[in-house]
């Protein structure tokens, strides 16, 4: 730590007093020279582990932007806090706008917390980029003009995994049991899963709703065994996926376990030999394209481990925001919304470019099913997934795996 002499402190005090004496305009202009951005992400609770990756990603993006001279010469002031739960998330979001002077908000992983921040954003007419929440309802019946959604929604995850399962003959005529997180995200994912099952001649013979604070799944696993399904399907989130997979391996049930939701941070925590089956992901650090490779290299150099998908999505989101502010020369909500609603294309380190769909503000992008790499082929402990072909397939419309206007209607008030 630097030690300051009494004299330095005295000078600093004098300078501060002097600045105050000159009056408030000086302070105001000093504030205006920075762009304040409010960032919320769960750092505790069942999503806290992946939230910590998210924070690393956004910090890296902010540092890079500031090091290269900021946005239009202004440095970014990133205010990043633990969103804790839906109620706290909403209180903090309101405070960031009202008292801390945030010009826009972004972050969040929990669909429940994201929903409350979306309401704050709408009330205050400030833009909010929801980076990690996946519930379809947020883009559908709960949508609003000020909220944008970066992660793939539940329907896309179901379609990504479903396509891969269909190719393996694991859907038609098969009996499924689902284990579902008992909050908005899980309910929503189950709805998408049910739609997929009924469209593809599969039957759902059992469905367990599981509270988000459950850490021991043994009673549920016994019920799964009693139901004797062909496939077990995990609709959980965060830590719970890790716990379920570990205990599923512990009990050694004979039915294949697949899932419609997984984040790589949770997969890395599962322990050797525990994960199997087919799962979806939005991005993985082994994706083979130059932009992605450069990002992975820089991130690994900085933090000593590869980026998780939340680190990636936070990184690209802040970069997209910076680009929007630079090109519109504005931090006003209307200007930013207009910019993104033009369906501006962004390079997000994937084969195809992505854009925010104008009518529901969903970032339309590729997704990937993956399976698990055999132990002998892993280069390191992070290298555990084998990505399948990107969905939609190369020739198909990007939007073909996303919910349509009729499936997930969104009515934004102007």
């Amino acid at each position: 730590m630097t030690r300051y002499s009494r004299r330095t402190l005295l000078k600093a005090g004098a300078a501060f007093a002097g600045a105050s004496a000159i009056g408030s305009p000086a302070i105001l202009s000093a504030q205006a020279a920075r762009i304040k951005i409010g960032h919320l992400v769960p750092l505790t609770g069942f999503l806290g582990a992946i939230g910590s990756y998210a924070q690393l990603g956004v910090k890296m993006a902010a540092e890079e932007i500031n090091a290269s001279g900021g946005i239009m010469g202004k440095q970014i002031d990133l205010m990043s806090e633990d969103s804790v739960n839906p109620a706290t998330a909403s209180t903090k979001a309101q405070r960031m706008i009202e008292q801390d002077g945030a010009v826009l908000l972004f972050g969040e992983i929990s669909s429940a917390s994201s929903l409350t921040i979306m309401q704050v954003a709408e009330r205050n007419k400030k833009v909010f980029f929801s980076t990690g929440a996946r519930s379809d309802a947020l883009r559908g019946k709960d949508c609003n003009r000020y909220s944008f959604h970066c992660d793939i929604p539940n329907t896309v995850m179901v379609n990504a995994v479903g396509t891969a399962l269909k190719q393996k003959g694991m859907v038609k005529g098969k009996k499924f049991v689902t284990l579902t997180a008992d909050y908005i995200f899980g309910h929503d994912l189950l709805k998408a899963a049910k739609a997929f099952f009924s469209a593809n001649d599969a039957t759902l013979i059992g469905d367990e709703l599981i509270a988000t604070d459950v850490t021991d799944f043994s009673p549920y696993l016994l019920k799964v065994r009693q139901a004797k399904p062909d496939v077990v399907c995990c609709n959980l989130a965060g830590n719970q996926v890790t716990n379920l997979v570990k205990q599923y391996a512990e009990f050694g049930l004979p039915y294949p376990l697949v899932g419609f939701n997984l984040n790589t941070g949770d997969a890395w925590a599962m322990g050797e030999g525990n994960l199997s089956g087919t799962w979806p992901t939005v991005w993985y650090h082994t994706l083979d394209n130059p932009a992605s490779k450069a990002f992975v290299e820089a991130f690994t150099k900085k933090y000593g481990k590869p980026p998780e998908n939340h680190a990636w999505i936070e990184y690209i989101t802040l970069k997209m925001i910076a680009q929007a502010i630079t090109e519109t020369k504005s931090t006003e909500s209307d200007a930013l919304i207009g910019y993104f609603e033009k369906q501006t294309q962004f390079d997000i380190m994937k084969a195809r470019k992505a854009y925010f769909r104008s009518w529901d503000h969903q970032l339309v992008q590729e997704a990937y099913p993956f399976t698990v790499k055999p132990k002998g082929e892993m280069k390191d402990k992070w290298d555990m997934l084998v990505l399948g072909e990107a969905v939609p397939a190369a020739g198909a419309e990007l939007e073909s795996i996303y919910p349509t206007k009729t499936q997930n209607p969104c009515n934004m008030k102007a």
């Binding site: 806290g48 582990a49 367990e208 043994s218 016994l222």
Partner: protein, 291 residues
């Protein structure tokens, strides 16, 4: 067939109860002897898990589950000697605050030392899969945990009821003044009880690391259930805690069988009902110093 399924849940609940017991018994002992509600108990559980995962990498699983509780028990000496000892006679709110603070400090320390993302741990190959007994399914690894819990339970019971150490401790719970009058200093006994208590919590952490997520806040997750068990069982009673732990496991299992979504709520409802009928818990004794 329905009955068979239910029985399976009951047996599984007993196994789970055994695991709650490892955490709750220490909590109960520390409270009974020292009058301290140790909110930091979960932190020792978490430390036990982290240290065990660390040791497993170098020495394997067997040594890890022995060395990790021993290491945490040694930390327990510092904990008792430099922190708890100052609060035995103080206002209970102070010991609540200090142990709550310690729980947060430990959680952050784990974040700094091991990082915020969860760390990975796996079951040793020999204990994977399940065993069928007739139509019953048991996880092989949970059977191992059950055996360990049973051994610990017998050990602690013998220690408390068949040794001179145990006699002093039990007398100290009821009449510390009389023990003092007989010229026996309770402090070394208290150190031993704290070592035993946090060591058992660490043992629980070490054994549960392979089947649960190992992350900094894992201590906070387990502490609530442990408290529920202690409250249901009643203070000062060895068997009260044992029965309560098993009961909590079984009630949760049966509830999940019939109403999965109510699984976690069921243990609080159980606590509520028990306290309505028996305010001191199932087998709680009247302890003069706490009345």
């Amino acid at each position: 067939m329905q009955f068979g399924f239910l029985l399976e849940q009951v047996v599984n609940g007993l196994v789970l109860g055994g695991y709650y017991l490892l955490i709750a018994l220490g909590l109960s002992l520390i409270f009974s002897v020292g009058g301290i509600v140790n909110l930091a108990h979960g932190a020792f559980y978490a430390l036990g898990a982290y240290i065990s995962v660390g040791i497993t990498k170098f020495l394997g699983f067997g040594p890890a589950v022995v060395l990790s509780p021993v290491a945490v028990a040694l930390l327990g000496i510092l904990f008792e000697r430099f922190i708890l000892r100052r609060f035995y006679d103080a206002d209970p709110i102070l010991s609540l605050l200090v142990t709550f603070g310690l729980a947060m400090v430990t959680e952050q320390a784990i974040r700094i030392l091991w990082g915020a993302p969860p760390i990975s741990a796996a079951i040793p190959q020999a204990f994977r899969g399940s065993v069928f007994l007739g139509d019953f399914l048991f996880s092989r690894y949970r059977l191992l945990i059950l055996a360990v819990v049973a051994a610990v339970l017998v050990g602690v019971w013998l220690l408390l009821h068949k040794t001179s150490f145990g006699r002093v401790v039990r007398a100290g719970i009821q009449r510390p003044d009389m023990v003092a009058a007989l010229g026996i200093r309770l402090q070394p006994y208290m150190t031993a009880i704290v070592m035993l208590g946090v060591g058992m919590a660490a043992l629980g952490g070490a054994f549960f690391a392979p089947i649960t997520i190992v992350h900094p806040a894992m201590g906070a997750e387990i502490i609530t259930v442990a408290f529920v068990v202690v409250v249901i069982g009643g203070l000062g009673s060895f068997w009260g805690v044992v029965i309560a732990a098993l009961l909590v496991g079984v009630v949760r299992g049966i509830t999940i069988h019939f109403a999965p979504a109510a699984g976690e709520a069921s243990i609080y409802v159980l606590m509520f009902l028990v306290l309505l009928v028996r305010p001191r818990g199932l087998l709680g004794e009247r302890i003069e110093k706490f009345e």
